[in-house]
Amino acid sequence: MVTSPLRRVLGLFANQQFILLLVLVAVMVYFDVHNGRFFSVAEFQNLVVDLSAAALVAVAELFVIVSGGIDLSVGSTIAVSGVIGAQAIVHLQSHHFGELPSLLVGTIVCTGVGGVVGALNAVLITKANLVPFVATLVTLSAGAGLALFFSQGAQIGYDPVAATWSSTGFWIFTWQALIVLVIVGVLGLVLHFTSYGRYNYAIGSNPFAARAAGINVNRHVASVYVMSGMLAGLTGMFFYIRIGGGAPQTGIGTELEAIAAVVIGGASLVGGVGLISGTILGVAILTVVTDGLVFINVSTYWNQVVVAGFIAVAAILQTVSPGTRKR
């Protein structure tokens, strides 16, 4: 087939990923026009920190949504794992553990707690046959309550050394961002190039066909929720490092931001459709908008309205874009 250059350019515009990229660049230019400090190493450092904090749960949410489910519990999981991880770190440091070893143990604890919450979701969905929305609503509430219970409402720990690490790294990349980059890269390969990823799409697209093809649907679905929990737990650890402690309010509402990023990135909430590049672009747009509005001194209240606008536009794009399925 021969494609004329004009056609190719028009084809790019039909590609939702390309539109997202244009939007991202346009928004950033807009902020820089209003305040010339936007394109600076300092600000990009901030953006990368916030982006990496949001990226893991968004990618986890993408896996869940592509498999035909939804995970509302990631926000609470961040809170409860951060609080329990902080308690572990406080305990270790009171026994004269060094900063790095205690943080490494804290990371394992946080990821583990997240994995436990994810496993609970998995049991509720695959054994008790609850729909994912209800199952993760249960753990959302329980997690938020447990975070308050374990912390008695107050931030656990005071760890200014850890807090300084949240901004150290290489150029605009903090250590945290580099770790996130590696994890997201690996998960992207898994989703798009391996049989695990293929099964994820198949199950979200038609679970009956997947089961008939010999795929162990329940085991796969369970693994997706466990992974989502573990990534939320790891994010809880990142937040510990950012504020030097575990606070029970941390992460509340993150699930909606993650779902918004996935939807803006072009994934379908009924499952089977979605790209990791779209989700990362979605996270980037949300982060840049949220941060940029503060940057140009607009009241934060407008934030949610603007985000709502982006979700609406993305959803409409999805229905008119030729490359996506209509049901």
């Binding site: 898994v190 190039f193 049989s195 695990y196 697209s205 009956f208 008939a212 399925r325």
Partner: protein, 252 residues
């Protein structure tokens, strides 16, 4: 092709009850390679119980199943698939968001060679290419593209689903209402694939309510009523009227 005398699938005295409901009683029949068999009956006649028994979704209370002369006991649908029986259920079909190649190889993915393959990385190009070749063998021509199945017509989609079953079945494919919800021309595409499967020496069990399709494509028709085989004759022995009468039990 195997000898005419040796059935590829044989059921002997199969019975199955759900609680107090007797779904199948003493069902026996033989099916041969390269034969298309119609399985008809009114609602509740035991068609789906029979399919589920053959494909290993559940095991019979009594009776024996032989495939290629060997007695089999299914513990799960995997066992029947491994023995060369593919089943296409009404609701299973294909995953609409995956490409044709991805659907054809779903659950049997071709991995890359070397260490990447051991990590689960797929050889997507090989799968897409082989899918087109295999579909072509059963008379299905689809354009080579990365399009998803959702962009195919209903008939093409069903043809691809059957082509998939034909490709993986060594002995038997079971088709549950494959022409349901399809238009006349689209149904013909499906029937064409069934004939191609017969040419390849596969035994096709064709379950349908659409009697003209059954009469058109099958070699033999087995009629079930209230869980029993009431008639098992060559298709040429039936007319639409006599078939209908046998199904409803109004004339025998």
């Amino acid at each position: 092709m195997s000898s005419e005398k040796e059935p590829i699938l044989e059921l002997r005295h199969i019975s199955k009850s759900y609680g107090s409901v007797r779904a199948l009683s003493d069902v026996s029949f033989k099916a041969y390679a390269g034969e298309v068999i119609g399985l008809v009956g009114d609602n509740g006649a035991g068609k789906s119980s029979l399919i589920k028994t053959i494909s290993g979704v559940h095991s019979p209370d009594e009776g024996e199943i032989f495939v290629d002369g060997v007695q089999r006991h299914w513990k799960s649908p995997h066992d029947s698939m491994a023995a060369g029986i593919e089943t296409l259920y009404q609701d299973s079909g294909l995953a609409p968001d995956l490409t044709i190649g991805a659907n054809i190889f779903l659950g049997r993915e071709v991995k890359r060679r070397g260490p990447l393959g051991r990590l689960g990385f797929l050889d997507q190009r090989a799968m897409e290419r082989r899918a087109l070749v295999e579909l072509d063998k059963v008379g299905i021509t689809v354009p080579p593209s990365k399009r998803t199945v959702s962009q195919l017509s209903g008939g093409q989609r069903q043809a691809v689903a059957i082509g998939r079953a034909v490709m993986w079945a060594k002995h038997v494919i079971i088709l549950d209402e494959p022409t349901n919800h399809l238009g006349a021309r689209q149904s013909q595409e499906v029937l064409k694939v069934i004939r191609a499967a017969r040419e390849q020496g596969i035994c096709v069990l064709f379950i349908s309510h659409t009697l003209p399709h059954v009469l058109e494509v099958t070699d033999r028709i087995i009629v079930l009523r209230l869980g029993r085989v009431v008639r098992d004759s060559l298709t040429t022995d039936y007319t639409v009227e006599s078939l209908l009468g046998t199904i409803t039990g109004l004339n025998t």
